[in-house]
Symmetry: C2
Subunit: 383 residues, 2 copies
């Protein structure tokens, strides 16, 4: 064993060598003209990736920090918000708003279910909530919601949609402006192919207007202060300059591939992973549909503890896949296929899962998964 | 010109190549055993550097984020706090607490003055503030306060000291436990020789006790949630894993040099810079005393605009020094000598300043600065 390592968790994701190298260049001063140029270029590229003409605000923080920025800049104490949740991250945003004293109404689904626009409309009409938290890609279950329709339902009911696109941005289609997404939150460490530590919020005109009235306290995550500085490529607080250099390089790679090509690749990767899993004889927890192309959640066969599988993959083969949150821990594991990923990463994961399950006596089909995955990928991309 | 660049601002500071390289290694999963081991080792090294047995909490955020964590975890709305300010950062912490609705009392000095323990004691007795914000190294002026005495004064008056050690930790002596500093805040990008993006807070038993009663809202910066996760080397939110790898490597370098040796080196660098500046015939804005060994603030000769000097150093020689904040912009510039720095960085800065000033017709002594700086360094370190 050469000690080779394979990162196949749904974030952080593998980072291209040239992106790592960009972050290893000598540190530059965050108030100098070279950093300002870098930051402005990076923000422009983020607007392209988010497909927005609105402001993109970049934070030195994880994605949860950027989501917190939305809470504290959009809400006043006691204000009513609807949190739509069908997994770990939906729950997190409800808890976050609750910590800030918002009146959090919930639209809850069982984990793995897909939120429905009609439910969102109904709950908003019932509650009169002014803001709706939506999750695009629920990393804990593999479900990618139809966020376009959910956001439309929110807007129809007079609520401002705030979208968690942490694991979806750059992997599956997301149109900030065309879909009327007032606030989109994402992080550097998923399909943007950058190490963790940066996160972003897009802010529409309506969101700016609301933020001017919102009275929750804010300082580090204050939007207006950040926007004023970012306009000249600067920041109110020392930013993670090496991560910005990495992000800028990664965005260049993504835009060079082209967003549509990246979406098609992710769709094909998802198809490949799901077809491979099914060919092996395993059961999907993720929905078997094209949109859910970010992470594939899989149930282990009876008698195989998913936590042991995850451990063995890592210790024996250097492969990191993710376990499941909460009650699903013993039964489910997740393969992320986000960002710097091709079909042979999928085949690596499937081949390794296959050997471990076979050795544990699971009733699976040998050899079928890899062939199915490659064929599905070829068919999906027509290559 | 080979395009060589010299970073001599008081943060971010130059990062050793091996620290940059550590951050360019493949990204690892933040829930895996290798990251947990890395994080626990890093936290242990931070305890050594902070000289504390208390918890050290590590945030993916700039230093201002870590300071915000102290505000929201220690205070309740309307609670009274004393902010001691003699520069940019002292003012920032007052504004931060004000943004969170604290009753901020101030002890203000002119920029460049050194806060006095008796003033702190008196103001605390007058105001009855329960928490005192102290700045160890005021980066905007070069003053390093006697934070041991200031903290003792705060404790004598029954207030809990919170210390901004962003630019001082690892550069000048700081004893978290021995000096009774209940909370110490610092960042990765100064004497810890790491790129920006990580920051820390040490939390004493008394600070934990106070935080249990404090009712300001918090989520991303919640101390208790972070402590519980860090106990096993994990974090509530995806941390900046590559920066943690860099920080761990940098801390190893710092501890290998030895903290006392690093303090002596910084004292000698400060001595060298100040003696060189004086030999050239320039006037110090920084106090000419041993403690203020982090950044040297210098007034330009009459007729030379400091902003033009800063610009010319950068454009012509690739040397980044810092300008001054606020009203001092035209008259003052600052040379940082923090972290990965030796005397030949000082001589580089002084030689370049000398040539620019001479060409602009300033009445300065040619050739004296570099010789004085090297001699002062040798004498201070007895090498």
């Amino acid at each position: 064993m050469p000690g080779k390592r394979y990162l196949m968790a749904p974030g952080p994701t593998p980072v291209p060598p040239e992106v790592l190298a960009a972050g290893a260049e000598p540190v530059i001063h965050h108030r100098g003209p070279d950093f300002r140029e870098l930051m402005l270029r990076c923000l422009g590229r983020l607007q392209e990736v988010c497909r927005t003409k609105s402001d993109v605000l970049l934070f030195t923080a994880s994605g949860s920090g950027a989501f917190e920025s939305a809470v504290v800049n959009l809400l006043s104490p006691g204000e009513r918000v609807l949190a739509v949740s069908a997994g770990e991250f939906g729950d997190r945003w409800a808890n976050l708003a609750r910590a800030y004293g918002a009146d959090v109404q919930e639209l809850r689904y069982a984990w793995g279910e897909t939120p429905e626009p009609d439910d969102v409309r109904t709950r908003l009409e019932e509650t009169g909530a002014a803001v709706a938290f939506l999750v695009h890609s629920e990393t804990s279950t593999g479900v990618v919601a139809d966020v376009r329709a959910l956001a439309q339902a929110a807007r129809d009911a007079g609520a401002l949609p705030v979208v968690d696109a942490v694991s979806s941005l750059g992997a599956v289609p997301l149109e900030t402006d065309a879909w009327g997404l007032d606030v989109v939150i994402s992080g550097s460490q998923k399909a943007l192919m950058t190490p963790p530590g940066l996160s972003l919020a897009t802010v529409s005109a309506a969101a700016w207007e609301r933020s001017a009235r919102a009275s929750l306290p804010r300082f580090y995550f204050d939007w207006a202060k950040l926007r004023d500085q970012l306009a000249t490529g600067s920041t109110p607080f020392t930013p993670a300059v090496t991560l910005v250099a990495s992000l800028d390089r990664a965005l260049a790679l993504l835009l060079e591939e082209g967003l549509e090509a990246a979406f098609a690749r992710h769709a094909a990767l998802g198809r490949a992973c799901r077809d491979g899993v099914k060919a092996m004889g395993l059961t999907l927890f993720s929905p078997d549909e094209e949109r859910s192309a970010v992470v594939t959640a899989i149930l282990t066969p009876d008698g195989v503890d998913a936590r042991e599988l995850v451990l063995e993959l890592r210790e024996r083969f250097g492969i990191t896949v993710a376990g499941a949150h909460g009650d699903l821990g013993a039964r489910m594991f997740r393969i992320g296929h986000i960002g710097y990923y091709d079909v042979f990463d999928i085949t690596t994961a499937l081949a390794a899962v296959e050997v471990v399950l076979a050795e544990r006596g699971a009733d699976i089909e040998r050899g079928a998964a890899v062939a199915s995955a490659v064929e599905a990928y070829r068919a999906a991309l027509r290559v």
